[in-house]
Symmetry: C2
Subunit: 402 residues, 2 copies
């Protein structure tokens, strides 16, 4: 009898966003005419940049013409795109060889796939609150997980503690869900810890394009990272590719453990388990890195940053503490009056038709907090902010009267 992967039986029953979708669907069934203000899932609302659309059309045309048609792509990415991304890092002072850059179908695919490089006995530390897939993907592999909680006391930016014993660590900066971002000195502490222990850092840089302060966009800006880090990037939030799909991963050539080279192992993984990423999507992705593409994607990012300002102003107006919003597309607020985060979710949905994400969905230490995405429609975000102010003022009044 075939034995299935029994680790799946250890997964918790339901997935955060699935649960939110169920509650939302139930609300809409009961209130079919309701307009919802969606600031839950971190999905973009603005269309792709014109330069990207033009490149996608040209690539589709190629696929329809003999002589310009492309069959199998190189499994690790088109050389021209790998060079383009390496040059993009170069402009920030990070010097990569193009064969240290791997083109992917997106960060979430890659965060799951890359675990194949590590022995299942390796122990994973996950800084929490965290993107739920980190925990689930490691649970599926039967890997022991060490939860590294954070909170207001460390600005949701945990640092390596005495005795932290692990082989693999997930760092996401700017962070989903808290919006906090490590500075150079803090990332340096993690790099020192990883190099000392022989651990490997999986650095999720999906939100780097939202950084506005002087903070590292790439872990490779920090000395020592090339011997301990893999960086996983995505065009999903940077360029609106959530439904178009493209990402990239950086694995330095000097990253070795137990005499095995992780860059070479990933080449072997990709050439065995994939046939490369779509030519059309790679051509679209290439356009993101042109001057025109960069200008256009930053126009979209400015719209989302204005959403963040609107929401932060609302929270300031009612005196609620929050993190993020400046260097990240997420705002992480404290729930009022110490209420639970799912209770706050229900309150917002039922009272003001605003959808956010309960902090408890990102790990135990997320309880009591709530995440807003700033990727929504600007008019919706303004209306949601007004509704939030009215609700929270009324709640504050109600609670002091009771």
């Amino acid at each position: 009898m075939l034995k299935p992967n029994l680790c799946y039986a250890s997964l918790k029953d339901s997935y955060l966003f699935f649960h939110i979708a169920q509650k939302t669907r139930a609300y809409l069934e009961a209130h079919p005419d309701a307009h919802l203000y969606r600031m839950g899932i971190g999905d973009v609302s603005l269309p792709l940049a014109p330069a990207v659309i033009r490149a996608l059309h040209a690539a589709v045309d190629d696929q329809g013409e003999k002589g310009r048609f492309h069959g199998y792509m190189p499994e690790c990415g088109m050389p021209s795109l790998r060079e383009t991304i390496a040059a993009h890092y170069g402009r920030r002072g990070v010097f990569l060889s193009p064969d240290e850059v791997f083109v992917s179908s997106g960060a979430s695919d890659e965060l799951g796939d890359i675990l194949d490089l590590f022995d299942r006995s390796s122990r994973a530390v996950i800084m929490e609150p965290a993107y739920p897939a980190y925990v689930d993907a490691n649970t599926m592999a039967g890997r022991e997980i060490v939860h590294l909680p954070s909170g207001p006391e460390n600005q949701f930016l945990p640092l390596p503690e005495e005795g932290l014993d692990a082989d693999l660590i997930y760092l996401c900066s700017p962070n989903n869900p808290t919006g906090s971002a490590y500075n150079r000195q803090q990332l340096g502490q993690w790099i020192d810890w990883a190099n000392r222990r022989g651990a490997v850092i999986l650095f999720d840089a999906a939100y780097e394009a939202f950084i506005e302060e002087d903070l590292p966009h790439s872990i490779f800006e920090i000395p020592g990272a090339r011997s301990c880090a893999i960086e996983i990037c995505s065009l999903s939030k940077t360029a609106g590719f959530t439904g178009t799909r493209l990402g990239y991963t950086v694995i330095p050539k000097e990253l070795e453990r137990c005499g095995m080279n992780l860059n070479a192992m990933w080449v072997r993984n990709r050439t065995t388990k994939t046939n490369g990423v779509s030519y059309i999507l790679q051509q679209g992705g290439t356009a993101v890195f042109t001057d025109e593409g960069q200008r256009q994607i930053h126009e979209n990012i400015r719209v989302y940053k204005e959403n963040a300002r609107v929401l932060m102003k609302a929270l300031d107006a009612v005196g609620i503490r929050y993190w993020g919003g400046h260097n990240a597309p997420y705002i992480w607020m404290e729930c009022p009056r110490g209420i639970g985060s799912w209770e706050f979710f229900d309150l917002l949905l039922n009272e003001i038709q605003v959808i956010g994400t309960p902090g408890a969905g990102f790990g135990a230490c997320g309880e009591g907090f709530f995440r807003f995405s700033t990727f929504g429609d600007p008019a919706d975000t303004r209306e949601a902010a007004d509704r939030l102010i009215r609700l929270l003022q009324r709640e504050a009044g109600g609670s002091s009267a009771s």
Copy 2:
């Protein structure tokens, strides 16, 4: 110290197609003006069908327009495409629920990813000669592999033998590389074996569109398959998507082992480890299943079938035994005079500039055989066939004279 996945150290040194590419590059460096007749790697040469191109352009336009823009897609596939594929099976008398169909980025990605559903102690049988990635992907997971060799004595279609002890079996029909295809009665024997043992069949149906005789296109045409089989399909060869990427996988809802439902496990895997397949590619794939799309892809398939006829005629002319060519885009020939398959590769490359694939690359029992792909350019295929006849006649003359 992080321990990498040491199973990678057990992989054989080089990958078949990589090795061919190296030899080809070396030849071109020595003979920069040579024209090569490429019938090695199974990559298509004809552009995408006009109906697909139109759908891709329309989808790109959607991604550029507010109101029509698509963000995150459902992880298991667009409901409309899952329904379209289920309806396509229905026209062949195979009735699937749309949520038994999973949209993928292609068969090779899926053949690697799906192994996550099975315990690493499960033993895999691989019918050989075989696509090399089957062996490598299981080696990476540390899985024990049972090689099930085939040869001319069973028309390269092995059947379950007394005492065959395994949990997972790979069947590829029509087969890559041999071009052989199982009939209903033979597939029925495998299904009986799998149901009796509780094994699971991974059925690779990537070449089903090339079937011209009365043979099963899907394993689900055979009674009993729903309790023991997963079918992995691809638009790569069917519709020329090798560089565009799209596939689909069928997992029946009654497929359970040890009380765990494999369809539900795959939903959990996809929702955790992916964010779905590109909207643009799914729209392009949907067009393949329209009446217009089906008519157009079969026009391309007819061109490849004409290539097969040209090559079969050449082999008939020189009296060489071969398999495939009728229900598959591959021709599997016996090397002349008992020479080794890499030796034959070198002979063809150096003497007549024709590139094929040495049988030894598909497993030990492939030695002494050689694969031609019929996906090449028709004019190149005709010239290659003429050169093959001249070479093999000269070789036969030379060998009889010596």
